[in-house]
Amino acid sequence: MELFLIFFSSAVVNNFVLSYFLGICPFIGVSNKISSAFSMGLATTFVMTIASIVTWLIYHLILVEFQLEFLQYVSFILVIASLVQFVEMVIKKISQPLYRALGIFLPLITTNCAILGLALFIVLKEYNFIEGIIYGLGAGVGFTLAITIMAGIREELDIADVPKPFQGAPITLIIAGILALAFMGFSGMISG
């Protein structure tokens, strides 16, 4: 039950995009079409889950052990960057269809602040190993949910008459604001 609460809270109540503002760049950049947005979401979920495992191990087994906590930003960002590269190579080797679906999105994920944010939040909230994985999975699912909904709205927006200065990023931000309002309906269901 505890684990379910962590999952639900990171996926919906404290959605990474809509309440922590992490991963805004892909959220605005890759949300033109539902299919590509969904692939981006899947790739991010995949990397997030693995990243939460690896950074947890690095933090607790190496950094804390040798009292090197001040190196956490440098080591996390390096680990995430190489992890993304590694995941890309593995996927290319074992599954061509999956690579074709996720391939171009993987390099973009390195600069997605949601991944580093996730690693930092897991340290900050002092989750244990299992809780960390569930938290990472939930955050990924939440990201997929938000970006897919956004892409759905933007596909409809193509046929709407938006004032010229507001086309592109501004209208996307305003829609994100309304989405964030909708997601606020979940707040208070779980504290923390």
Binding site: I24, C25, L78, L124, K164, P170, I174, G177, L181
Partner: protein
């Protein structure tokens, strides 16, 4: 092309014409997340400027030494080092502020504004120009975050930098200090800034057309006479 710009222009272009938040749409995460109040916005922008200036300095110093295959990794390492410095200093000197900015200080590492400037500018230009460019972009970021944070603070809690600016009978809009308010305010500000620059563009275009017509008319008059 950029090397032709005068030094003052190198600094000024970041303030408005190429403003990192409103025009280039970079560095959105911190711009949205910490601007609950103007003071948070200023602190965030100053921290980012510090990291930006020093990483631009180092990157432009070593721009000819780093092989291009590993340049991104090298930039990220340099940025992460300066972010660690900022974070430790803030924790020691301004514990309150550091707590209210929370994990967003470490997240400066992945602020695409900083990596973007290293890749687009510092890796190709001299040290002086890179530092000026970084200062300009940092100031532009400061302006954007101050405007955003100021607006949210005024409408969301009646105050600006802690001083009350709206009278007591004004009911604070709760939405402004919630996440939704950040998205809405930034979206509106960006739309307004687009409308402004489009209007300016139209005016210059009309002026050019008018000039052309005037010249044409005088030439015609000369030929006839």
């Amino acid at each position: 092309m950029s090397s032709k710009l005068s030094l003052s222009k190198e600094y000024l272009k970041g303030l408005w014409e190429n403003n990192p938040v409103f025009i280039q749409v970079l560095g959105m995460c911190p711009a949205l997340a910490v601007t609950v109040s103007a003071i948070n916005g200023i602190a965030m922008a100053l921290a980012t400027t510090f990291v930006l200036v020093f990483s631009s300095f180092i990157v432009s110093l070593i721009r000819n030494l780093v092989p291009s295959q590993v340049r991104i990794a090298a930039y990220i390492l340099i940025i992460a080092t300066f972010v660690t410095i900022v974070d430790l200093v803030m924790k020691a000197q301004f514990p309150e502020l550091s707590k209210s900015l929370g994990p967003y200080i470490p997240l400066i590492v992945v602020n695409c504004l900083i990596l973007g400037r290293q890749e687009a500018f510092s890796s190709k230009n001299s040290v002086g120009r890179s530092v000026l460019d970084a200062l300009g972009m940092g100031s532009g970021f400061l302006i954007a975050l101050f405007v955003l944070g100021g607006m949210r603070e005024i409408f969301g809690s009646r105050t600006l930098l802690g001083f009350q600016v709206l009278p007591d009978f004004y009911e604070p809009w709760l939405i402004m200090i919630l996440p939704a308010g950040a998205f809405l305010t930034l979206g509106l500000l960006m739309g307004l800034s687009n409308a402004h620059s489009e209007r300016k563009k139209r005016i210059t275009k009309e002026a050019i057309v008018q000039d052309y017509l005037n010249v044409k008319a005088t030439l015609k008059a000369k030929q006839e006479s």
